[in-house]
Subunit: 400 residues, 2 copies
């Protein structure tokens, strides 16, 4: 049999999805599985999304513009103006999910062999796009002890080489829930200016900041307008993961021209979803955003309450998004997460979590950590966490 490419052979399977076969086997045995392993929101997609699509049905489902429909780019521009951020429609390219925005950001800023600094643990799918783009993600480790905030500028700068082209951040963060402070962003701004780098900023969770805090976008950093590339998505904000719509924003015209060439190669993002998304961006009021913020904040609080009394677990209060990366008293969280699916149930129910090691690039880190996505209703969350706690107890007594 003729060989598969080395780069694909070397790719890791998604730590978010790799336990899915075990979950399916559990379900086949009649066990009900609470999914805390994947960031799939349970909040209904706004009904206006569907109505706008139904109102826009064409005779022929045509290609749209490669940079995305103007009505959607206008709507996104208006969405940013709400926060006092001015973005021109030509500074936006609609992408097929936030995923494609990440890929385009890597492709336009880096050549093969170039390096991008990122902070581990990080959204594991960056790895796949790094492989596709032929670049190397160079990890700087952040720690559970200080809530995964950034290490010192000196630590970050120590990783910069002549191949470094960009620093990649995600705030509010997946998988940690950490929100970078204005001061941390200022530090990054100084570093990218000093070393002539791009700042690639995944702001997918920008509307999920808790405790009255507000999100400070890299688009608001003065003096590095040409260096900032924002990657965004409607998946989490509007509970529409299956739409596959995101966008890439940059004020760097040459970079956007380059991204558009990539966009032309794949012709266009999905057409109908853009009508739905444009309607949402135009019409949702502040209430909507307040509501999702409150909902997830309450769930975060529930998570903290439920896990605070579990011996050996540790995490600081997540400041945003809907994730927490949690240290457990186990040696191998991968084994524990698998065991929960293969060997444990409480009255026919079990809980699925994502082992965190896959979110680290440095081998051996995060082995005792899991990521939880708090994307279930309060009632389900309570049950899911109760099952998880009971499972952990049994595991510690019998396996670990």
């Amino acid at each position: 049999m003729t060989a598969i490419s080395k780069r694909c052979s070397a790719m890791q399977a998604s730590p978010i999805r790799k336990l899915v076969p075990l979950a399916n086997e559990a379900k086949a045995r009649g066990i009900s599985v609470y999914h805390l392993n994947i960031g799939q929101p349970d909040i209904p997609t706004p009904v206006g999304y569907w109505n706008a699509m139904k109102d826009s049905l064409p005779d022929v489902l045509c290609y749209g513009p490669s940079q995305g429909l103007l009505i959607l780019r206008e709507a996104i521009s208006k969405y940013y103006s709400r926060d006092g951020i001015t973005i021109d429609t030509d500074e936006i390219i609609i992408t097929t999910g936030g995923s494609e925005a990440v890929f385009f950001a890597f492709m336009t800023t880096c050549d093969p062999g170039d390096e991008v600094i990122c902070f581990e643990p990080f959204y594991t799918n960056y790895n796949g796009f790094a492989t596709m783009a032929g670049i190397t993600l160079v990890p700087v480790t952040s720690n559970v002890e200080n809530g995964f905030h950034l290490p010192s500028a000196a630590t970050i700068e120590s990783k910069i080489t002549d191949k470094t082209r960009a620093i990649l951040i995600c705030s509010p963060n997946n998988p940690t829930g950490t929100v970078l402070s204005a001061s941390e962003l200022d530090t990054l701004s100084s570093i990218v200016q000093k070393h002539d780098l791009y700042l690639l900023s995944d702001e997918v969770y920008r509307d999920f900041v808790f405790d009255g805090g507000s999100h400070f976008s890299t688009l608001q950093l003065p003096g590095i307008e040409d260096r900032v590339v924002v990657m965004d998505s409607i998946s989490k904000r509007f509970s529409s993961c299956g739409a596959r719509l995101g966008n890439m924003i940059s004020r760097n015209k040459k970079l956007m021209e380059a991204a558009l060439k990539l966009g032309q190669a794949r012709l266009c993002p999905p057409t109908m979803a853009q009508y739905g998304a444009a309607w949402i961006y135009h019409h949702l009021t502040a209430d909507y955003y307040t509501n999702i913020q409150t909902t997830y904040q309450n769930r975060r609080d529930l998570l903290i309450r439920e896990l605070s009394d579990v011996e050996g677990t540790f995490f600081l209060k997540p400041e945003g998004a809907f994730y927490a990366t949690i240290k457990l008293p186990v040696k191998d969280a991968d084994k524990f997460a698998s065991w929960m699916l293969t060997d444990f149930d409480l009255n026919g129910e079990t809980t699925m979590v994502a082992p965190a090691a896959g979110f680290y690039a440095t081998p051996g880190l995060g082995l005792d950590q899991i990521r939880i996505a708090y994307v279930l209703s309060d009632e389900k969350m309570k049950k899911a966490l109760m099952v998880l706690k009971e499972g952990l107890k049994v595991y510690m007594e019998t396996v670990n």
Copy 2:
């Protein structure tokens, strides 16, 4: 300003879309433009597509499986069984457009620096995906004089090096309309076996074969089951370019596992469109396929009638798809196509075509050729061609 990646700087703009700004300027001057430049079918998307979507609206627009919804993979399997081709649902990955299928095929079969042999002129967007995958497309030239059929095995084999990983074909062909014969496919089969290569086969136009001919799929070639990767799309077959749904098919299990890892990185293809596509594949009858075949064949015949009397033009009868690559009596078809938009109109109307040079990889080839997509109604096609002929006449008298 910090630099853009070299690979993106080096990418060519799409020859199909690069004249769009000129077309927009013409429209702004009040001129009506016939679009023969892009393969955007005008036949209505089957109404069942929309109804199936409307019947499937969920509360939450969730991620689907990375390999695509099972109902769609089952429907595609059934579609192939119509032609006596047995494809298991695990041998299909649903992709975001045929575009992503091409990218996945390159990524899974090639490492950076590897080579893929293709036959120029070829679908220009292969270039973009080759850039993204870091591979080199090595052109073997086919000629207008013999209707762009394959050159000899010896000519093809002369391009094989130790970096060659695959041969890429497209039949029925974009941009030429050529349909490879069973004998040509047998030749390719022998070559890929002899040299341990993959055969990457773009079969997007497999339902568009004229004059009673039938499409012979690479999936039917005995002995190279593990070497064949088919790239497909619903865009043309079901007039649903904006859905962004395609699929990749291979019986090579390791290759499909590798492709699934790429699929997991980008999470999933668009969810709602898959419900629509599944319905279409399941329910459309032979009448539908016969009808689109007849419609495009009639347009092909109209094209031949209209252009047969134009001195200096040359092309053989296209055997399928809905394109023709036509030699004109001009020196620079790019200049002519631009001139049609900037300097010519006939009673307020002009015609847009795609210069063919961009479909060649070898510099200097195809300069006197254009690609026409015959995707307009008979009435519009007649007018578009009349305007084109008149424009060509004026151009030859005044500019060329």
